[in-house]
């Protein structure tokens, strides 16, 4: 890829090599991913943007070690991934909270899985919840929280063990526009403090540019890499920055790609 050169100085952390995924169905094979290769250096924020059904989620599941690729390989620091990666944090499109556990209890699930020392983990869980504006909501059950709050709990659960990588599958796709903006700001803040490596799946052009160091645009089914775009905007980014010519240039570039591939059609 063209943009790989710009990051060649740093050694890759996550490396996806020639990933293909084909699903067998009664109506014949369905190609989800076709020869996708991309690597991510430590601390990088990479977004994957593409239309529904382009295999973005499949890519994330393979990167998480939760789904085996049909061909190709995933490596972390050069070591192949053959089982679920348990050191990472995952955020799905739906919050995937346990309804019978409180907000705090849901965050603590990760601590229980990692066998973290309970008291320290609980302190940390409370700090995390407070940092995303959920102080005072620790004892609430998921059904008592709004969609945005649930997704924040899910984010805290993915962060409590201080993972080196965060995998996010359209995490804010189901939220209203204002909540989404706020969570973008929150995520940028968290990333700024911890600098974990993020693989972020989205189909929002603005969100991808706002958050990312690089945006990988995918073609419609089967998913191939269309172009990888470096986002050279100063950080921390502000919402107002979305209205600047530099930002507009990037969204125009992505828009043109989507129009050219027929993902979007102007009548």
């Amino acid at each position: 890829m063209a943009s790989a050169a710009t990051l060649s100085s740093t050694e890759p952390y996550l490396c996806l090599q020639g990933l293909s995924k084909v699903y067998a169905t009664r109506d014949g094979p369905v190609r989800a991913l076709d020869q996708v290769s991309v690597s991510e250096s430590r601390g990088e924020f990479l977004s994957v943007l593409g239309p529904s059904g382009c295999g973005k989620s499949t890519l994330l599941m393979i990167a998480a070690g939760l789904l085996p690729p049909s061909s190709g390989a995933v490596t972390i620091d050069g070591k192949p991934v053959t089982r679920p990666r348990t050191d990472i944090g995952i955020v799905f499109q739906s919050p995937v909270l346990l309804e019978w556990r409180t907000a705090l209890g849901n965050v603590m699930l990760q601590a229980e899985a990692k066998k973290l020392e309970r008291a320290a983990a609980e302190t940390r869980a409370r700090e995390l919840l407070a940092s995303v504006g959920l102080a005072g909501f620790e004892a609430k059950y998921p059904h008592e929280l709004s969609g945005g709050m649930r997704q924040r709990v899910s984010l805290c659960r993915a962060l409590i063990h201080d993972p080196p990588q965060l995998l996010m599958d359209e995490p804010f796709g189901a939220l209203d526009a204002l909540t989404r903006d706020q969570l973008n700001l929150d995520l940028q803040q968290i990333w700024n403090e911890r600098r974990m490596t993020v693989l972020f799946i989205t189909h929002s052009i603005a969100e991808a540019i706002f958050l990312s160091d690089r945006v990988m645009v995918m073609t419609p089914r089967p998913g191939r890499i269309d172009r990888v775009i470096d986002i050279d905007l100063p950080r921390p980014r502000t919402l107002a920055m979305r209205e600047t010519p530099a930002f507009a240039k990037y969204s125009r570039e992505i828009l043109d790609l989507l129009l050219a591939r027929g993902v979007l059609r102007e009548h």
Partner: protein, 292 residues
Amino acid sequence: MPDADNPTARPYASLSIEEVEANVQRNLARRESRERVSAVVYPVGVVLAVFVLWEAGTRAFGIPTFLLPPPSIIAVSMTANAPLLLVHGWVTTVEIMLGFLLSIVVGIPLALAIFLSPPFARSILPLLVSSQAMPKVAVAPLLLVWFGFGLLPKVLIAFLIAFFPVVINTAVGLASIEPEKIDLARSMGFGPVATFFKIRLPNALPAIFGGLKISITLAVVGAVVGEFVGGDAGLGYLLMVANGSMDTALLFAGLVALTVLGVVLFLLIEITERLAVPRHIISGNPAARESM
């Protein structure tokens, strides 16, 4: 003069937001207290009305007591036969509880095996389904031949009728879970056992309790059927005796005792459910459907 463009000029529209707030809250409190009262008064009123009509009807039309005794005669019979009802009621309770416990002890492991092993599920399901299609009342005489007139055949009939909903609900409850929850557990590093106890089992509890509630009511039916076919004790036996001696008031007294027993056992399961499962995710609770 009222000015349409200036609402503050209209005196009748000048409630402050605090006053509106107070009104709205007061209305809500009134409506809720009305609903609380009617939740008790209406059903009690209907039951009383039925009794009054029943009492008046049987007297007015001179219906013979052996056909339909009025509630007052049934009440008299219940008081007079209280020791009898208690003794036989206890026998039936033991049969029901043993049959129900057997349903759990057999049903839940069976459901687990069905869930864990698709080949086992495919092998056992036809047998399970046909065991349900077969009328248990018809099997009762056979069990009597095999196990005599004692406790065992009644417990077995109660079990045969009651275990099916436990198996089905548990198996369905264990299987129905968002796939993301399982992906999440794997990525967190939970092994199969921890995933089962921390995620899959709690997720299935509302369905399992749904099955237990059906099961306990069916166990009552099973025990009574067993006593009908061959028994020397229990409320079912008492019903047969009352029937044989044309003591319809005692028959009704036995029916009332069985109803009370069934309701109490059902409530015991519900209380256990309340203790085991947070209120908002008990199945049938609308709040459960709102949450993800």
